[in-house]
Point group: C2
Chain length 349, copies 2
Amino acid sequence: MAGNAVAAGAVTGEALAGYLRAQATDFLRALRLHRETGGGGAAGGAEDSVDAARALRRTARRISAGLHTFRPLLDADWSERIRPELAWVSGTLALEHACGARLERLLLALHRLSGAAAAPVPARVGVPTQAGPAAPAASSTPGRGNLTVGAAKAGALLDRQLTLARTRAHSTALQALGSSRFHAVADQVAVLASEVPLTPAAATTDLRPLAAAAQERLTDAVAALPLVTAGSPYNAEALVHGLSPDPAPHPQDTPWHQVRLLLRLHRYACEVLDGGPGTPADVRLLAAARALDRHRDAAEAASAAAQAARTPRIAPATAYALGVLHADQRHEVEAARYAFQHSWPKRNP
Amino acid sequence: MAGNAVAAGAVTGEALAGYLRAQATDFLRALRLHRETGGGGAAGGAEDSVDAARALRRTARRISAGLHTFRPLLDADWSERIRPELAWVSGTLALEHACGARLERLLLALHRLSGAAAAPVPARVGVPTQAGPAAPAASSTPGRGNLTVGAAKAGALLDRQLTLARTRAHSTALQALGSSRFHAVADQVAVLASEVPLTPAAATTDLRPLAAAAQERLTDAVAALPLVTAGSPYNAEALVHGLSPDPAPHPQDTPWHQVRLLLRLHRYACEVLDGGPGTPADVRLLAAARALDRHRDAAEAASAAAQAARTPRIAPATAYALGVLHADQRHEVEAARYAFQHSWPKRNP
């Protein structure tokens, strides 16, 4: 994997090619598995299908990130054509998972807020069949008897809305995977699995400055975050605008979401240098990444609760429970920022 | 003030008598001021009247605490007769202030949650006249135009409910101050201002062991608090049961309220030993006391928001805003516990 006739310790385009080939191979394997399991429609194959979809997302993200961070080493035309297509694939497949995870998070929070701590929360690992969700709403929330009427109704409303969104996302994903647009992507990835279109100079180009630039973009973005505020607990920052008439996402969340994406690019660049995915050399990055995932999930769950509260003709008790839930998730947002601030090395990582 | 023929450094019953006489004198002065200002009904006298009511509460609490902590030094019959009466006076007078402070806290939070940070919050230092609140609801919430419909309606609802409660508390307090029951208390305090009914042994009894016992009761109660939980920020403890069908106050709040009362007894016992009110020797006690006041205020504000949400026929948007507000105040409860845990000396104070 080491280059020849280049600076000692250098990691060259060969390492990038090896990484991209491996990811492309994994993508194709996941695609085969997904087709064999019928995309979650066949009995027994639901879990395999979820695993396959996750592997498709994972590999599509990594290939896309490699093309982005190391673009000077790759055929520019090809790279610019395939990158948005890979983003479309991972984005389309992520939506279904996100709806399920959001519902699970919100139902868990409703149980916690009701003091029904012992109530098991439905393991929603399965995907809905094309006809609709596999589990009926009633059986999906054991312990609902411990909730107030408002919390139970809020849970049922969220279950309806997010299950519907998930079912739609599932159909959209299945349609996407059957489309000619996706077949074109799969063909491109199949080519990549055997032959990476490197530039002539790539074999002797050191990857490390490009990886360092990705890290610098991350470091700069982190430096611009309000880490001092986030470092003082209970600063009540994340709930400001919680009742604002502006229904747009919280503008203060955006730089945190941006850091999450830059951290991911940095992690994947490290993987290329380290010869493949695995535990990063700096394990603190994992804690930071987890905190930012939690930040994103809580922010989106808070929006979903606020959105559900705008459903016409709901009972005041339902709206009240959704308000409590919204504020709870916004505090989760704040807690995640606090956790990120603590996980982040005080000097450059 | 030092005893004679007792252990060196001892503080005896004379110090207690001096403290009680001074507090009783202040009580009588406040009572005169309150009568001169007409209990808030007369124009121009409202602020003086508030000050007078505060001084009555302060001194009644301190006399009552002195009788409790140092009861072996005082005539038992007399002491047991007057203590509940003093508690009745301070409790009755506190209610009006609490309603006003609660409304101010909730309106401030609604503005913060709406992102209307610059909006000034009404200074509600005045007391309502007997006819009703002095300020009309509209002028009491400038910047309401920046709120959502729900937040504005929630603010108006809370304003109505808490202003009504405050007006009632004001009438009750005025009635109480004019009652024969209160005149009997005032007569007892007048006697106390000139002659404290000490036991014969009090002149040579050291107060310090009794003050130490009060401190020990505090220390034991603090040790029983879940300080480890409170010391980890964002533990989401205070919101558990936030949606519970049980409308009773949060049972987990009770030990914190109890510590607040024990801390007050400890502080007043220190005042007796130190020769009068003033900055305590251990200033950390002030931070701890402030945190516990904030804990109590936020817990009661959260209850008021939840209570308002049970008003029949309110709009879902109003209920939603009240839910957000409730959760926000419960997080304030949690933040106050965190602040207390940090203010509290790790060893015995």
